[in-house]
């Protein structure tokens, strides 16, 4: 309704004897609300979803308040601070990306909004905007969902090297590079002693100093020093919030393997020094070389002593007479 018409209607009602002053005031208030410029009004706060009702970070509360106050640039900064903070839960990340997307749209930064909603949808494929969201936001959101349905988003890639045979009794750090990691996705290393029933797991933690770098630590107590060597099976896996495998190396049926060497003799430890791993011992490699040479010689000897048969040939000269 046009604001001028609304004011005239209110004036008309005031003059009507059947209506009271109370009704007139109500209409005046309504008219005043509509007459005010749209920029002075704050956007309606989104109705909270169930998963947003858990504990939230201070950045989320602050960003919401700033967004409601129309201070979009400040809200964006607070959201970014919240995303960079350590120990942010998945639920908090979802809400922070939602706020970032909404704020970016108000600021006209469609690329940033797209990136934020993409991460949001990767983590929560069933996420829906509240009905009160502006049509522009809803339109972009619908397009992003369509892209995701057609898998036009980058898949998660995992780069991780197999673990070399570790020293017994020492922890093992595994570095991995995870690109296009979906929000809510989880990268883990699964491991077990060869022959054991189930796998244990450790999570990869994000290295905040280096983007896309993640580290998992296999505790030292999982690799005890024993008198005999043993093997450990392991594999890496990235799963999304619904536990669907996004990327990995090895799997439970085809795991990778490393061997843990047995306890070395004390005499060797004394002579070699405590800091030198067993596999750097020159005597080991001398022994390996000797075995290799001996083996080769054995193979050659075997191949050269193959069984033979004697074929006698007698050449006789025959006269060429007809």
């Amino acid at each position: 309704m046009d604001p001028l018409n609304t004011a005239l209607l209110a004036f008309h009602l005031m003059r009507t004897p059947a209506r009271g002053w109370r009704g007139a005031l109500c209409v005046w208030g309504l008219g005043l609300t509509l007459v005010l410029p749209a920029q002075a009004r704050v956007p309606p706060p989104p109705s909270p979803l169930l998963f947003q009702l858990g504990p939230t970070s201070p950045a989320i509360d602050a960003a919401r308040e700033l967004l409601e106050a129309g201070r979009f640039q400040e809200a964006l900064g607070v959201v970014q601070g919240g995303l960079d903070a350590p120990d942010v839960t998945d639920d908090e990340l979802v809400e922070l990306y939602r706020l970032q997307g909404l704020t970016a749209l108000y600021l006209g930064d469609e690329a940033l909004a797209r990136g934020a909603y993409e991460k949001l949808l990767q983590a929560r494929p069933d996420f829906e905007l509240p009905r009160s969201a502006p049509p522009k936001v809803r339109g972009l959101f619908a397009k992003l969902k369509e892209d995701l349905r057609h898998r036009r988003v980058h898949p998660v890639t995992l780069e991780v090297d197999p673990i070399p045979d570790p020293a017994p009794g020492e922890r093992v750090e595994v570095d991995a590079i995870l690109r296009d990691m979906a929000l809510g996705a989880r990268a883990r290393m699964f491991y077990r002693r060869a022959g054991a029933q189930g796998f244990s797991s450790v999570d990869f933690a994000r290295d905040r100093a280096r983007p896309e770098h993640y580290t998992a630590v296999l505790p030292a107590y999982e690799l005890p020093v024993e008198s005999t060597p043993y093997e450990v099976e392991y594999y890496f896996e990235v799963v999304d919030a619904a536990q669907r495998r996004l990327a990995g190396r090895g799997d439970p049926f085809h795991p990778l393997l490393f061997q843990v060497a047995p306890r070395t003799a004390p005499a060797t430890a004394l002579t070699e020094g405590a800091g030198r791993p067993w596999y750097k011992s020159p005597w080991l490699w001398v022994a390996v070389g000797a075995v290799a040479i001996g083996g080769t010689a054995g193979v050659v000897a075997l191949s050269s002593s193959e069984e033979r048969g004697r074929v006698p040939i007698t050449i006789r000269v025959e006269d060429a007479a007809p």
């Binding site: 193959e306 033979r308 048969g309 004697r310 006698p312 040939i313 050449i315 006789r316």
Partner: protein, 162 residues
């Protein structure tokens, strides 16, 4: 002597196996004409794998070295313990008959090629004899009738490249 006795003696003398000509129960018996033998300075022996896939007629036309690679040859050994993919034996003086033997890895489906080479330097090819060797068993093997060498001198180098 009475007539029945003579008859008996005659019958007895005609019984039994024929007198074997130089009994050589095992090995390869090679015959070449004396005209060729007089020029021969050495014989080169080689054994090829996959004998049935070889065309002996073609192999005899020219030097073996120009037709097969040395990897097709089996490692041989002579009575003196010399080994090689080809073995050479000096011919007997005056081109008379001679005997030689080679030790071949036990197996099946071979082709044995004997090349007659000149005595001069560089060695020239005079002719060859190609023979299918169905099986080589351990120990000493049975006699084979070999194809005679025909004089087909060719301007080729019978030496296999090393």
């Amino acid at each position: 002597m009475r007539r029945p006795t003579l008859l008996m003696l005659a019958l007895l003398s005609g019984c039994g196996p024929d007198a074997a000509p130089e009994a050589l129960p095992l090995g390869l018996d090679l015959t070449l004409s004396r005209a060729v033998a007089s020029q021969v300075g050495a014989y080169q022996v080689a054994v090829l794998k996959d004998g049935t896939k070889r065309n002996c007629t073609e192999l005899q036309r020219t030097c073996l070295s120009s037709q097969v690679s040395s990897s097709d040859l089996l490692e041989l050994k002579d009575a003196d313990g010399h080994t090689g993919r080809t073995l050479r034996f000096a011919s007997a003086p005056g081109g008379s008959a001679m005997g030689l033997s080679v030790d071949v890895p036990v197996g099946r489906d071979y082709a044995l090629v004997i090349e007659a080479l000149t005595a001069d330097t560089p060695t020239r090819f005079l002719g060859s004899s190609c023979n299918y060797l169905r099986v080589v068993n351990s120990g000493t093997n049975a006699t084979l009738v070999a194809a005679p060498i025909e004089l087909t001198a060719q301007p080729c180098d019978p030496v296999f490249p090393r």
